[in-house]
Amino acid sequence: MKLIFEKSVPGRRCAILPACDVPKAELPAELKREVAPLLPEMSEVDVSRHYTELNQHVHGVNCGFYPLGSCTMKYNPRVDEEMASLPGFTSVHPLAPKTAVAGCEEVIETARKYLCEITGMADMTFQPAAGAHGEFTGVLLIKQYHDSRNDKNRTKIIVPDSAHGTNPATAAMCGYQVVNIPSAPDGCVDLEALKSVLGPDTAGLMLTNPNTVGIFDENILEITRLVHEAGGLCYYDGANLNAVMGVVRPGDMGFDCVHLNLHKTFATPHGGGGPGAGAVGCKAFLAPFLPHSALMEEPGHIQVRGFRGNFLVVVRALAYLLTLGREGVPEAAKNAVLNANYLMQRIKGTFTPAFDRICMHEFVLDLSEFKKATGVSALDVAKSLIDYGMHPPTMYFPLIVHEALMLEPTETESKETLDWAAEVFRALYELGYKDPAFMHAAPHNAQIGRPDEVKAARNPIVRYTKA
């Protein structure tokens, strides 16, 4: 595909802005731009065709199965998009006077009420713009809490080795030392390991439950009790809430604060990388530490971005909640779990689940035995799936499983799709024994062959430069 800059023709224009109907204002000479930016010069139809060509080289949930574990790639009802595009929402200035924003505020209040109910929390902020941003906000709640008690010795955050990379990175951004604890053989928190690191220096624990191998930690009440006993607080990474929403609440599990990935669980499509929203809920004793905007609310609070946050994502979440309702929310969660277990059972017998037990919304395959036998890696299998039009599962995560492929089918996939996916996995399993070389070279019918990532990192070309 040509770059847009390679299609550009000097002097061509797209839109004709209306002539300026007031006198021109001059920029002082020393502030003037010296060279015009190299932006595309194109007609509107050519812009449209360029992006259409790009769009044809994207695999979305609308193209086919997308079992990317931990990312909850469900089909999001388009009615939610419709609600978020209502001009009454899209055209509101964040600093408009209170009288002009009552509708927007009602969206936020209503979403807050429902999501607090779902999480078992007392209050919630929608300022964080993504999951990792929510983690940052949540761990800052913990930090402010300890600071408010003048408890300066709590310098450590405990993170299991199965955690998502954002968890330890967040703890470090909040000034904490990260204590990694090994997981038990069943993928859950090793209680002895936890006990051995808990102490007067424990600020808190960050935990994902169901965890990143798709298992609900049966010791969850004991875990949160132990952390509290040591004077620490418990942070719930809600990236996997899709498995349990409306069924069990993080607040009841003993967590003090939680972030939700509204873009995973609550119906905002992922947009090729974002935007999302990382709503953060907390128990009442942490509510005074929630962030505010310097311009919109009373100052003196932490603030993690401008204004109120990704409001239009909250609109989608509310629309989704209202359409699913009290029965629909837990039904979606249960179907997500059912679909994952069904697919795992269908694949079992070929590739090996890392943990052979009932899973929640996702499961991890361990391909190390398969690799030993055939030389075919998890990466080779993932790349081979592309030729079938299936997006590969999450690869090599969590780090505690070798040759990991993590599958999250979600509740919106039909039995037919799951059966088909299982057949594809079976076919690849057999192909691994017959023709490993073919799989090492996969994909064969994709947009590109395997890219040279080492070259990209060694000799970075990160922008177009005119020849």
Binding site: L17, K32, R33, E34, E41, P299, L312, E453, R463
Partner: protein, 362 residues
Amino acid sequence: MTPSFGAIVKYIPAKEEFLTAYTPYQAEMSQGVLQSIFEYQTEICELTGMDVSNASVYDGATAAAEACAMARDRKRRVTLISGAAHPDVINTVRTYCYGTNDEVKVIPVKDGKTDMEALKAMLTAEVSAVYVQQPNFYGLFEDAEAMAAPVHEAGALYILGVNPIALGIMKTPRDMGADIAVGEGQPLGLPLGYGGPYLGFMATTTKHMRKLPGRIVGETTDDKGNRAYVLSLQAREQHIRREKAGSNICSNEALCALTAGVYLAAMGPEGLKEVAEGTMAKAHYLCRELLQLPGVKLRYEGPFFHEFLLDMPKADEILAALDEKNILGGLPYEGGVLWCATEKVSKATLDEVVAIVKGVLA
């Protein structure tokens, strides 16, 4: 923005593949997203004069906070931020520094601009970065270029927060001596949406490339030697470096970056210049007309872009009267009213505003 013009910026990002894809981890089925980001990165580099841009962060305030974090090292733990920066930016930078136990000092404001003498006095060996907004929160152009030398002499990095529309006509942050350029990308075709989703852009020089947070798309070749795009330089990121990563960012604002890319393509260099000039012209017209009215005064003199702070009697009444007519007037701020106009508003509407204000003041 004419209605037909806005339409393409709305329709393209609504295409379902763009809308429903995840982060392009699998390059073989994501070339479209990857290329769109590569093109966006190029456009941001072109606007700012920088060598490398990331694929976006959450918004302008977080872009500023991340830039300050980039500049920090073990010995330099003090961030200076101009008091004439956007209050949300100052507050967000403060919050990120609270996280890492670093110090923030606000540079005093003099006559609506960053106080250069105060800045010089604050430039100690512990200062890692200086953040200045251009044009600043009062709308005024700072003497941003003059600040670069003292900042660099003190061994700190110079971060400029800029309005991307102004960059259609304004000297680039690179030419003003900045090491890192950041800003709020909302004006690049994104709806106001009561505050978000917006777009934080970040660009820097090759020297600091490996400290830039977030996704970066790079060009390479595939196994047949064809041009291909991938998520690159991932050794910087949380999924590899975990607690040693410079930032925890994972999801970003990709669809907003795509929207900005479409906006800039639809606009072109000439169009962007016209928007910038139109914006500036409309604001200056409104300012001039309002200053004709009794008791209305400009708080700070000096060249400005599209915002200006007026002291005016009966400010509350004026804003209420405008509200009656469905016009969102200026922002009450520090006892005055901070006004703004852009290319989208017609002379007729501005005249209506002036007439309403005149009516209240009569």
